[in-house]
């Protein structure tokens, strides 16, 4: 059953659950943070509305810099902005930032210790019709290997708003990467749902859990639906929302895997190097357990609708349930 302490959306399993893209949460969070802190400067590479930075840019045109379609410049100009004590936020599609400007983010932002919020939009196959060129499936891997960088992958628009505000607060002193989606996805959390960068939340816990499902991004929803259906079938699970991929909350992960002894990770990303790999690194060191990885398995994306592609690449509810049964058999 849903962990009551997580205070999730009461309509989560209803047909008319509200659908909002996580990028919208980012845009709203940036606007709220920008109203409080005049040091915040927005920079965009010709995708202002699409990345939802237009909310900030319209309100604070004097604090918005249009960079044009030049993502290498986007990252490096932001580094210079941060050098003057301002707080830059850069947004583009993740395939271009951090896809194209990875080295600039590494050297001029992270190595240089400049606090910049890097917002990667249009991640995962759920981008849909634009096709594989625009579906970032490698960005978690690219970002989590860089020292001095926080990596956050919110599960819904509300969490994306909270993560954006926290990333821009004085609590966080390092650069941050926030992973966002294009399509409308279910609102899972509420204003009251606890969120903190660096912490994992238990969203679901059956009485006798046999498997710990660890999910990130909007696929947390599919993980929750799977957990509910499995419970009806008599299979108990725990579902963790791992929105903070780096730093990773080892303690909570280990505690919740110790209860079950088996894991399924769920992410809209390449299995290689993604969130599941990060979990495997933790468990391999502290509590080895069998793991099944739900994610894209060494393939590029393609055109289609979000649901078609999620199913095609094996990230649907059916796939998660199968992975749960498989990992139980491996115990």
């Amino acid at each position: 059953m849903i962990n009551i302490n997580s205070k999730l959306n009461s309509k989560i399993f209803e047909k008319d659950v509200e659908l909002v893209p996580t990028r919208k949460g980012f845009g709203e969070g940036l606007l709220i943070a920008g109203e409080k802190d005049e040091k915040i400067i927005g920079l965009c590479a010709d995708l202002t509305e699409s990345t939802q930075m237009h909310l900030f840019a319209k309100k604070f045109p004097e604090r918005f810099i249009e960079i044009g379609v030049s993502e290498q410049n986007l990252a490096t100009v932001a580094s210079g902005v941060a050098a003057m004590g301002s707080l830059p936020v850069i947004s583009s599609y993740a395939m271009f930032s951090p896809g194209r400007n990875w080295e600039q983010i590494r050297t001029t932002i992270c190595y240089n210790d400049r606090k910049v919020l890097v917002a990667g939009n249009h991640t995962g196959v759920s981008v849909g019709p634009d096709g594989g060129t625009h579906q970032a499936l490698e960005d978690i891997a690219l970002m989590r290997v860089i020292p001095n960088l926080v990596v956050v992958s919110p599960c819904d628009a509300i969490e994306a708003r909270k993560a954006t505000i926290e990333a821009l607060s004085s609590k966080i002193t390092t650069p941050v990467y926030i992973r966002l989606g294009r399509e409308k996805t279910p609102i899972i959390t509420t204003e009251e749902t606890p969120f903190e960068i660096g912490k994992v939340s238990v969203f679901y816990e059956s009485k006798k859990p046999e498997v710990t499902i660890i999910a990130t991004g909007s696929l947390v929803y599919n993980a929750l639906v799977s957990a509910r259906e499995l419970e009806e079938d008599g299979v108990g699970t725990i579902v963790l929302n791992l929105s903070s991929i780096k730093p990773i909350d080892k303690k909570t992960i280990i505690e919740n895997v110790q209860k079950t002894g088996a894991v399924v990770t769920v992410e809209e990303h390449q299995v290689a190097g993604g969130m599941g790999s990060a979990v495997a690194e933790v468990l391999g060191e502290f509590f080895p357990a069998p793991i099944e990885f739900i994610g894209v398995k060494d393939k590029f994306g393609q055109s289609g609708t979000m649901n078609e592609l999620i199913e095609h690449y094996g990230m649907g509810v059916k796939d998660i349930k199968e992975a749960v049964m498989k990992v139980i058999s491996r115990k």
């Binding site: 030049s70 290498q72 941060a82 050098a83």
Partner: protein, 280 residues
Amino acid sequence: MEKLTDQKIKFLEETANNIRQSIIEMLVEAKSGHTAGPLGMADVFTALFFHALKHNSKEPFWEERDRVVLSNGHICPVYYATLAHAGYLPTEELMTLRKFGSRLQGHPHREFLPILETSSGPLGCGLSQAIGMALADRIKNGKNSTKQFYVLMGDGEQDEGNVWEAYLLAGKEKIGNLTMIIDRNNIQIDGFTENILPLEPFKQKLEAFNFDVQEIDGHDFNKIIEAIEKAQSVTDKASVIIADTIPGKGVKEWENKFEWHGKPPTKEEGEMALKELRSR
């Protein structure tokens, strides 16, 4: 800027000579590093830190200081040596270049030496950082800004696409207090720039971006300082100073040889070079 007298020029020439000697001593001791670029840019660095810049070595983080971004980080021996001679670092520390635990990393890293405006090494990223600094300053201070922003680039690094992205933005934003000084020494690792990836007609290309472009002898203090003064006086667009320099300048045998781009002198070669410089 103070008036440039004959006496001051003599002082600048002596200082640049001392900086060149330090560069050679550092590189001999480090047994690795770049030689040609640092020697070639010693006069420009001297003109900046001993005449043109608004800065204070006693207060390295003074908010109102002019900003200098070194884009081609591999020429950092000249940067470190200049900082030492200008009072930012003990000159003895120069001998730690490239060694374990040193503040003087092989390519500049401000985590180790926080007085650096930026870390650099991977080419083509300095101009856009200087633009970011100038734009943030403009957002904060508007027309009241009293700072000048300088970026020092190499000609080899003009091959990087990031530089041209930055030129487009600098042209659009008309950043009057930004001056780009480009070390035109015509060499890069694999050979002469015009054979590797030709830049010419370079001045015309830069003029087309709506910059005020000057091309000068990068070893003539009168010309360097006159060009910086002119650049400061242009307030409606960014300025470029193409500084024609001789790679390896000051050591006759090394001048204009691209082979000296990325290697240090041996002890014997270093002694020969120091003798030549000390005899000036």
